[in-house]
């Protein structure tokens, strides 16, 4: 730290004030003042920063609304916000309640509404029902006949081969025959009863666009069009060439972790929590949020702040036992012959000893006259 303050920080300040018209002496003064202030604002060793951060996010929890949905204007899509969203992020749920993406498009399209609309259209998931003129059963041949709406197919930039291909991929045990204005779907093992079910299934089957993206909505952000989507699929959106993937974000933490890696997921956690807090107008310093995000990501996998996540990773048995399901932890500990080193806070509270944080941290080393000590011991006995 010291070395950083001495070498890097003055450089950074230099860069910042380089162009200003201040005199050299003034610049020097600014530099000194900044370093002084920075040193003054450092945390003290031993500070129980985890608790401070946890409280900083937990305390305003009572002020947050439970309101799940939020309207910005009429047309925008609803996303989970408020306390439920925070809990969802901290739990590290596999799938958010309302997965969504902000898809950025490349510069050359981002000003043109028509072009962005077209991209949005391309991204949106298409189900067979949307492009079919009619779907009906051919009971004689035990097949489903689908007649396409040619215009819809054209609008969505689809073709018959692609549709057939994805149908075969999505539903097992069927055969597809292409006709002039549509397709016929046969079952490999024809069965009357299942035919109706197949027809219903066909209506919602995915045939084009990006899977999972159920709604798209071009909106203006910072003077550029971007596409807000409902449903998230980063992996597939990456392959759309009009999309500026570097600027595209998703609110599905697990998806971000698997597609872009744990650091990206950590940043997503920070961004998502900060977004909720800002929306609710609750001031919380970003440092606290980063600490929570780092705790969730420290192992390289996303761990929720739950009994299955972080709590199960603790090295102390008693700390685990005092949180939830004490029995299981005690039993597990006994088999391995585990030792609790009493390094964390709760165990020391349990056994009435000073906790190893803050003012409980420093020890005092005293030189003891050994000869004296011995005589005392003898006395006691």
């Amino acid at each position: 730290m010291e070395s950083w303050i001495k070498s890097k920080l003055p450089e950074e300040i230099e860069k910042k004030i380089f162009r200003s018209s201040l005199s050299a002496a003034k610049k020097q003064e600014i530099k000194k003042e900044t370093i002084d202030q920075y040193k003054k604002a450092q945390l003290n060793p031993g500070e129980a920063i985890g608790i401070v951060s946890a409280q900083s996010l937990g305390e305003p929890g009572t002020q947050m609304t439970m309101r799940t949905f939020h309207f910005v204007g009429v047309a925008e899509l609803n996303v989970t916000l408020g306390l439920p969203r925070i809990i969802e992020i901290l739990d590290a749920r596999k799938e958010p309640k309302t997965p969504a993406m902000m898809v950025a498009v490349k510069k050359k399209y981002s000003q043109n509404k028509a072009k962005v609309d077209k991209i949005a259209n391309k991204i949106q998931q298409v189900s067979l029902g949307e492009i079919a003129e009619e779907i009906f059963l051919d009971l004689a041949n035990l097949s489903v006949i689908i007649n396409f709406n040619e215009k819809a197919i054209k609008d969505r930039e689809l073709n018959y081969e692609g549709i057939t291909e994805s149908l075969l991929k999505e539903i097992k045990g069927i055969d597809v025959k292409e006709r002039k204005k549509g397709i016929t779907v046969f079952m490999k093992v024809p069965e009357m009863k299942k035919l109706y079910r197949l027809k219903e299934k066909l209506k919602s089957v995915y045939v084009g666009g990006i899977k999972g993206v159920t709604h798209t909505l071009p909106v203006i952000r910072d003077g550029e069009y971007i596409i807000q989507t409902y449903g998230s699929n980063l992996k597939d959106i990456m392959e759309i060439k009009e999309v500026d993937f570097l600027k595209t974000t998703s609110n599905n933490i697990h998806e971000v972790a698997s597609v872009l890696g744990i650091e990206a997921a950590r940043q997503t956690v920070v961004n998502e929590i900060m977004a909720v807090l800002n929306e609710q107008g609750i001031p919380v310093d970003i440092r606290h949020v980063t600490l929570i995000a780092d705790t969730m990501c420290k192992t390289g996998n996303l761990l929720g702040i739950t009994r299955f996540g972080i709590a199960s990773q603790k090295s102390s048995i008693l700390a685990r036992a005092s949180f939830e399901i004490p029995l299981r932890h005690l039993i597990e500990a006994s088999t391995v012959g585990e030792t609790d080193q009493l390094t964390s806070v709760v165990e020391n509270i349990m056994i009435n000893q000073p906790v190893p944080v803050g003012t409980g941290l420093p020890g005092l080393v005293v030189k003891i006259d050994k000869t004296k000590k011995k005589t005392k011991k003898v006395k006691k006995k």
Partner: protein, 855 residues
């Protein structure tokens, strides 16, 4: 033992299984009779209340250690089981062992090469103390070994083992009794246990099959004597006597050579009793009940949950020297003071060690005894407590010598900790200086309610007195309210003025002009005795001072502060130059709680003591001003100018017309659907937007048109209380009531209330309230308004437990993270979580809203 002070530190706690040998070693008595007391009411020897297991009655002596009620910690007994029994909670481990180890030779069912690779991983995990890794490995090794059909070492065939939950094992179709299981487990060599990560010294698998049962000491299961003289035993004693009874019967039957089926039945019964003794809430096991049909609370239930041993007794501590009372406001005490009633000061004392220097001073307290300021108890050098009474006073005074401790009453300026639950953040408990005040309530300055989240509608708060020198020093240096002005949540002051003083200062700095006499009055009330500057103007022999001058007198002479604020659409500069307020006026933004910028500026440049002093002085100054002036609201304040009224009316009419237009376009199907929405949803969304717009418009107009002379508006603009929008709701109209982001749509078939036609989509039928609160709502409007009110009540009721649980989890996950001496943030295992907290190791409570600002 008394007086002998042994200080020992627990270094670590090791967990393991209790071996039969250990049971024999620590058990003092073998329990063989289920009877508790004999006919005379004395405990039966070798019964469950045998006095060698500890003492619960006064006057008796423990047979083992000779200690009495307070000195004997209790001793374990044991039961020699007639037949071994499986420890239910470990049944799944037993199952794993039986399947993964050979029943013939006891070796693990893995070839040597696999053993080598696994044991390498295990010893690595053990060395690194990576327990989650170790647990995972144990599991994989068990599963890997399970697959073998033939033992690679003795080449015998492996039976398929089945577990019928909870404790019945089968090898093939044959029942495996615990004796046989134990035999198999005993064969497992220590080296093979280490492969799977078990510690053979602490946990041999055969110890999971009990042959001896440890009987907890009597002190752990005390019996209660009822008023009728009857003894009522603890649940554990009941359960144990069941065990002893069955155990003895089993023994008799074995000795008598009873048929196998009877013995097996009794064996299973013994298993059941022992299972429930440990845990009475295992699935598939019927719950053991008391005579009154109440389920017994056995060992596991004692530990579990919020009221269990861990969370209730171990993680939560109870303390002495605390007090609790209702709080009430007192704006004339300093913010770091707390008004303590005398009754508390007499009871909650401070221990003061006698030295040569303070012996005279402390003798005064003893002399006073129970009379304030006196002392209640003294402790002699060897820790004996003596009560100070009229009779003992003389003798104690004579004997008092350095090294004694006197527990004296509270005095002014003693340090006390003050707390209000729920303690959601560290500012929920702060140190205050004691100030003795008449009455029965704790008094605090209303400026400090924000961190405690307190109000005075009956809130109670707790007071604690630190009992050691270290803790008192720590409280004074770290926890004192003065040192907690800036919240670590966002780096601005959380403590600041509230209500009246804000308004007083707003008026003072904005427009007031005082004669010299009045100005002196106000300044004196604020405790300022400096000389007045030259007056602003002289008129008819009178000298006049304006509020800005008066306010400037409390500022340091070298203070410079610049800020600005937008009030009703206009930018208002706020400039302090060289300690003089040049421009602008005070509002909540500068001096209020939760982010008062002037307070923070003072803190940053002059330190916490000066900032605290500023709040105190501002408080008094503001109050003096408002006292001089007097201020009140009336219904008249709700009467807006006709011009504004007309505008509001036209907005209402227009938006209603707009709604009609939307409805018409919906009915004719001309409405263009929004993406992903049906026609009806589109219409609904558009209507909602139109009506919400109407309210916003009205808010804007009121904001713009409302005059500062309107007391209500002045209050809102100064940030004292309320918003201009509230005025709009009162004298304008309340607007659209929305439930979960939609217009009100619930109720009867196709309509909200029977007063409307079915299918009515109009504004009024779906919760539009066209009246303001001042004029009053009509019954239908009131109903809709109440619906929304109820919804928000429910929201609050659901939110509190949810956020509470979230906070508990967050705290649990992060409680061990601390900043180390090398500035890294590490957890209790020493693993680095962040190299620098937040990237730069900046303490938010020492920063400027999270930044380093050198302006």
């Amino acid at each position: 033992m008394d007086g002998e002070r042994i200080t020992k530190k627990i270094g670590r706690i090791k967990f393991g299984l209790v071996s039969p040998g250990l049971v024999k070693k620590i058990g003092t008595v073998n329990i063989i009779t289920p009877e508790l007391y004999d006919a005379d009411g004395y405990p039966v020897e070798k019964g469950l209340m045998d006095p060698s297991m500890g003492i619960i009655d006064p006057g008796l002596r423990c047979k083992t250690c000779g200690g009495g009620l307070k000195t004997c910690p209790g001793h374990f007994g044991y039961i020699q089981l007639s037949k071994p029994v499986i420890l239910t909670t470990y049944a799944s481990y037993v199952y794993d062992f039986l399947r993964s180890f050979c029943g013939g030779c006891g070796r693990i069912l893995l070839p040597q090469n696999k053993i080598d690779s696994f044991s390498e991983k295990v010893s690595k995990a053990k060395r690194e103390n990576n327990l989650s890794e170790l647990r995972g490995l144990t599991k994989t090794i068990f599963t890997a070994a399970r697959k073998a059909k033939v033992c690679p070492y003795c080449e015998s065939n492996i039976d398929t083992i089945k577990l019928e939950k909870p404790t019945t094992f089968f090898a093939g179709d044959k029942r495996l009794w615990p004796i046989e299981i134990r035999e198999r487990l005993e064969k497992i060599p220590d080296d093979d246990l280490e492969i799977i990560g078990f510690d053979p010294n602490e946990a041999r698998p055969e110890w999971m099959i009990l042959t001896m049962l440890l009987v907890p000491p009597i002190t752990m299961r005390p019996s209660i004597t009822l008023e009728s003289g009857e003894r009522s035993e603890d649940d554990l004693t009941h359960k144990l006597s069941d065990i002893v009874r069955v155990n003895q019967r089993l023994l008799e039957n074995i000795n008598a050579g009873a048929p196998e089926i009877i013995i097996e039945d009794l064996w299973d019964l013994l298993q059941y009793h022992i299972s429930t003794f440990f845990d009475n809430s295992i699935a598939q096991v019927p719950v053991a009940r008391h005579k009154s049909n109440r389920p017994l609370k056995t060992l596991a239930e004692r530990l579990k949950g919020k009221e269990g041993r861990f969370r209730y007794n171990l993680a939560g501590k109870r303390v002495n020297f605390c007090a609790r009372s209702v709080i009430s406001p007192d704006p004339f005490i300093e913010i770091d003071e707390i008004g303590v009633p005398k009754s508390v000061a007499l009871e909650v004392t401070i221990p003061e060690t006698v030295t040569e220097w303070n012996i005279k001073w402390l003798k005064n307290f003893i002399m006073n005894g129970g009379k304030y300021p006196g002392a209640n108890y003294v402790y002699t050098e060897d820790g004996k407590r003596k009560k100070i009474t009229e009779e003992t006073k003389e003798q104690i005074l004579e004997e008092l010598a350095p090294g004694w401790v006197v527990e004296r009453h509270l005095l002014d300026n003693d340090i006390a900790l003050f707390n209000r639950q729920p303690s959601l953040h560290r500012l929920s408990m702060m140190a205050h200086r004691v100030k003795l005040l008449p009455g029965k309530t704790f008094r605090i300055n209303p400026a400090v309610v924000t961190p405690y989240n307190a109000d005075f509608d009956g809130d109670e708060m707790n007071l604690h007195i630190a009992q050691t020198e270290e803790s008192r020093a720590e409280a004074e240096k770290l926890l004192l309210l003065t040192n907690q002005l800036i919240t670590p949540r966002y780096g601005l002051s959380i403590i600041g003025l509230k209500q009246d003083p804000i308004f007083g200062l707003y008026l003072l700095t904005k427009e007031l002009l005082f004669t010299k006499d009045d100005a002196t009055d106000i300044l004196l009330a604020a405790g300022i005795e400096e000389k007045l500057p030259s007056p602003l103007k002289k008129d008819k022999g009178l000298e006049y001072y304006d509020g800005k001058q008066i306010f400037s007198m409390i500022l340091p002479k070298d203070m410079n502060f610049i800020s600005e604020q937008v009030i009703s659409g206009k930018k208002v500069d706020f400039v302090i130059k060289d300690g003089i307020l040049k421009e602008g006026y005070l509002t909540k933004k500068y001096i209020g709680a939760e982010g008062g910028l002037l307070i923070h500026h003072m803190f940053k440049h002059y330190g916490s003591k000066e900032a605290k002093k500023l709040i105190d002085t501002l408080n008094l100054l503001g109050l003096a001003t408002i006292r001089k002036l007097g201020y009140s609201l009336s219904f008249y304040n709700l009467d807006l100018p006709d011009r504004v009224k007309e505008k509001i009316n036209s907005i209402t009419d227009e938006s209603l017309k707009e709604v009609d237009k939307i409805l018409k376009s919906y009915e004719t199907g001309k409405i263009a659907p929004l993406p992903g929405k049906s026609l009806l949803d589109t219409a609904e969304a558009k209507i909602l937007q139109a009506l919400n717009n109407a309210r916003n418009e009205v808010g804007k107009i009121v904001e713009k048109e409302a005059l500062d002379s309107n007391e209500l508006v002045a209050m809102a603009r100064s940030g004292t209380q309320g918003q201009v929008l509230n005025l709009a709701l009162m004298s304008g109209f309340v607007g659209q009531q929305a439930l979960r982001g939609e217009r009100i749509s619930l109720g009867y078939t196709n309509r909200t209330l029977p007063h409307f036609e079915k299918g009515d989509l109009g504004a009024r039928a779906h919760g539009f309230v066209g009246n303001g609160y001042a004029r009053g709502l009509d019954p239908i409007e009131l109903f809709f308004n109440a619906m929304v009110g109820r919804d928000s009540l429910m929201d609050t009721a659901m939110r509190t437990p949810k956020s509470g649980y979230m906070q508990r989890r967050l705290i649990n996950a992060l409680q061990d993270l601390k900043v180390n001496y090398d500035a890294t943030v590490r957890d209790s295992g020493g693993k680095i979580v962040q190299f620098r907290f937040g990237g730069d190791n900046v303490d938010v409570s020492k920063s400027d809203r999270g930044d380093i600002n050198i302006k």
